[in-house]
């Protein structure tokens, strides 16, 4: 356990260091950002460098929930349940941050906080599925049953996210890629040039490290919780 928490500590310190560098790069290293026609974009675009890595990380967390759920149903091993619930909680946080950073930028750039755009709605569905997953966990008491039912929902929820992406694409076909250039990744407008790509890469590493550190802390916490529960219920049964 001690060696484990030391590793977690190193990971957390590393995440903090890279995060500082990433924030520094966004605000001081980045030159003014220009779009294809050469006009300088508003500084609010800098939030994109937070936004996109967080979004990718939240999808990654969701994939972990799915994989861990499948393995839990196959093997019934407690560790998979611990991985699933840890990833789900962090994923819920990250997917909320995606919506928050996206809305702040959208207010400045488009004038509205919210538009029923393809990616926005998909992120919203992701967030809602996470919330539902956590709600389901909260309302079940028996640990094994909770793990099993949550795993079932983890699988169903994961399948629904890509499907919502397609259904909204159909719905909004009248608005072909309105904002595709900006949120489409490094291939989009204004993202040419090494300074921008470097900043984006550093931010990606920062958020992946942050996720890894949070995940490690959470998994460790859950393990300790399980150990405490085992002790407590063990004593309870002895008491009878």
């Amino acid at each position: 356990m001690a060696a484990n928490s030391r590793k977690t500590g190193v990971l957390a310190a590393l995440a903090a260091g890279v995060m500082l560098l990433a924030v520094y790069m966004i605000f001081f290293y980045l030159p003014p950002i220009r779009d294809e026609s050469g006009a300088v974009l508003s500084d609010s675009f800098r939030i994109f460098f937070f936004h996109m890595p967080i979004a990718i990380t939240s999808y990654l967390a969701f994939a972990i929930v799915f994989v861990a759920s499948v393995f839990y149903l196959r093997e019934k091993a407690l560790k998979w349940d611990i991985y699933a619930r840890s990833a789900a909680e962090i994923g819920a946080l990250f997917s909320f941050l995606v919506l928050a950073t996206g809305s702040i930028w959208a207010k400045d750039a488009w004038g509205w906080y919210w538009i029923w755009d393809l990616r926005l709605t998909t992120s919203l569905v992701l967030f809602l599925v996470y919330l539902a997953y956590l709600m389901l966990r909260k309302s079940l008491e028996e640990p094994e049953k909770r793990a099993q039912l949550a795993a079932v929902f983890g699988i169903v929820g994961f399948v629904s996210v890509p499907l919502s992406f397609f259904s909204i694409r159909l719905w909004r076909s009248a608005h072909p890629l309105m904002f595709g250039g900006n949120s489409g990744g490094s291939g989009g407008s204004g993202l040419e040039g090494t300074a921008l790509q470097l900043t984006l890469a550093v931010n990606f590493i920062a958020y992946l490290l942050l996720f890894a550190a949070l995940f490690a802390v959470k998994v460790e916490n859950e393990r300790m919780q399980e150990a405490v529960d085992e002790k407590r219920y063990g004593e309870f049964e002895e008491g009878i």
Binding site: L73, T121, V125, L128, V129, L131, A132, M135, L136, S139, L140, E141, E142, K145, Q148, L149, A151, V152, F153, I155, V156, G157, V159, S160, L163, S164, F166, S167, I168, L170, W171
Partner: protein, 226 residues
């Protein structure tokens, strides 16, 4: 397959003796339509606005009424240890699922067929028989998707503390990919577009039904085992 039909027949027989679930769902969906019709009363004469609103209203009514029924499907079995007896049946667990999907589909679809005339009256539509058939197809595909996921999640929430509250919370986010094409296709049909106008929506609904039926079929066993 035959065995799941037996289970469905048992459910339908039990349901049509009392008609408890059917009646409450039907009255609920009619009430939703009436409430919307009253609150939109001012511009019901303006057909361009009705055309935009009505498909959504119809799906809201069906979704909420359907959810009312779905939360009952497995609660009904939990009395007198029926669920245990059902699990003891010499059939695959997934046959129970298929049977439940089938009986729920029949009940909810019947409820929708009875609701449609009231919808036409309240929102002042005049539809020919071809359009009605097409509307039936859209409703069937959409309802099938709704039931496929809803039956699984209804089994999932059976052992939770707040099952009636939890079912909508779990169901609605997962249901979004069926509601959007469903509403779009209904709007297309009601606006008089033919089959070709709504083919991409119908394809998406069919894909949703297939994918979720396959997934639910696989995981249902875990949702009811204890």
């Amino acid at each position: 397959m035959i065995r799941s039909l037996y289970i469905a027949a048992k459910d339908l027989k039990a349901e049509f003796r009392t008609k408890q679930m059917f009646n409450s769902m039907l009255i609920f969906s009619l009430l939703v339509l009436v409430v919307f019709s009253i609150s939109f009363g001012d511009f019901l004469g303006d057909s361009s606005k009705v055309e935009k609103l009505a498909p959504g209203v119809l799906w809201v009514a069906f979704t909420f009424a359907g959810m009312l029924g779905l939360s009952r499907t497995f609660v009904m079995e939990s009395e007198n240890g029926c669920l245990e007896a059902l699990k003891l049946c010499p059939v695959d667990r997934s046959a129970i699922y298929t049977g439940k999907v089938f009986s729920n589909l029949v009940i909810v679809f019947l409820m929708e067929i009875v609701t449609i005339p009231f919808f036409i009256v309240l929102f002042n539509y005049s539809l020919d028989s071809g359009t009605l058939l097409l509307l039936g197809l859209v409703l069937l595909l959409g309802t099938l998707g709704f039931i496929i996921v809803g039956t699984l999640l209804s089994a999932l929430t059976l052992s939770t503390r707040t099952r009636e509250l939890l079912l909508p919370v779990l169901l609605l986010p997962v249901l979004l990919p069926v509601l959007i094409p469903g509403v779009e296709a209904t709007a297309g049909v009601l606006a008089g577009n033919g089959l070709s106008g709504i083919s991409s929506e119908l394809r998406l609904l069919a894909v949703y039904d297939l994918i979720f039926f396959a997934v639910s079929h696989l995981v249902f066993e875990y949702a009811i085992s204890d």
